[in-house]
Amino acid sequence: MSLQGKVALVTGATRGIGRAIALSLGEQGATVIGTATSENGAAAISEYLQSAGIQGKGMVLNVTQENAIDDVVTAIESEFAAPDILVNNAGITRDNLLMRMKDEEWDDIINTNLTPIFKLSKRCVRAMTKARWGRIINITSVVGVMGNAGQTNYAAAKAGVIGFSKSLAREVGARGITVNSVAPGFIDTDMTSGLPEAHKTALLEQVPVKRLGEAEEIAAAVSFLASPLAGYITGETLHVNGGMYMN
């Protein structure tokens, strides 16, 4: 139980990759706070954590809402302790060809997938600095590195996450805080289940492992980076994509 006594904050933990990450960190002994955008989602998180015997709970966090981030972290600090591990996982897609992309589709992605990473990291890094220990793990995407037609907005935000992580890693490395990114390829979640079958088949042809990834396989990478033994890895992007992209 290498994360015993640590408090982990995982955004977007209702389902898919976020849920798998929350469970995986909890299995390592961390107290886990998972966030959802709705009360129902938060209740579902509390329930799956409890049935897995993990300490912690679900909380409502709409990352785009003014002051919401500060309020949630303050609540975590008073009920548990300041987060030692921050996993920025919450994300959405608003796919469209650039020539058809509306300003709102661009803004939604930047406001949900990029800006909250800045705000949450800033809110959490003070306590980590004082503790001389911290882990910030940002979920990016293979799309942020390779590009993908129809996802200029998503790719820009995800590439932004990588640049952010590398810069922050340089700022806080001397304080025992590591900042890394995990870049999933095509993972079997709600986000990819909406893709047309023909598109999926074409995608899998580019994946040497010849299958979609499992959310648990992303969670394993996150848990590794969160562990004390990963303290010499920082500013890195760990690709988990079945060989679709090799760095």
Partner: protein
């Protein structure tokens, strides 16, 4: 030496890992005491905690010595 000055010096010694005799009233955190920019941010955080005040970023930038820190804290506490 005022109580505030003594406490500020104590915090500087602790945060920057320097000897107490180096921490004169006019010693610059960065030029004389070897602090980097992150050290100065942490120092301000420690001062905020010790004196239960919030130091806005634009004020924090102006605090570069013990003397300036003491003056600022005096100004908000009076």
């Amino acid at each position: 030496m005022s109580d505030i000055e003594a406490r500020v010096k104590e915090i500087v010694v602790e945060q920057l890992g320097v000897n107490a005799d180096e921490v004169t009233a006019d010693a610059s955190f960065i030029d004389d005491l070897g602090a980097d920019s992150l050290d100065t941010v942490e120092l301000v955080m420690a001062l905020e905690e010790a004196f239960e005040c919030e130091i806005p970023d634009e004020e924090a930038e102006k605090i570069t010595t013990v003397k300036e820190a003491v003056a600022y804290i005096n100004s908000v506490q009076s």
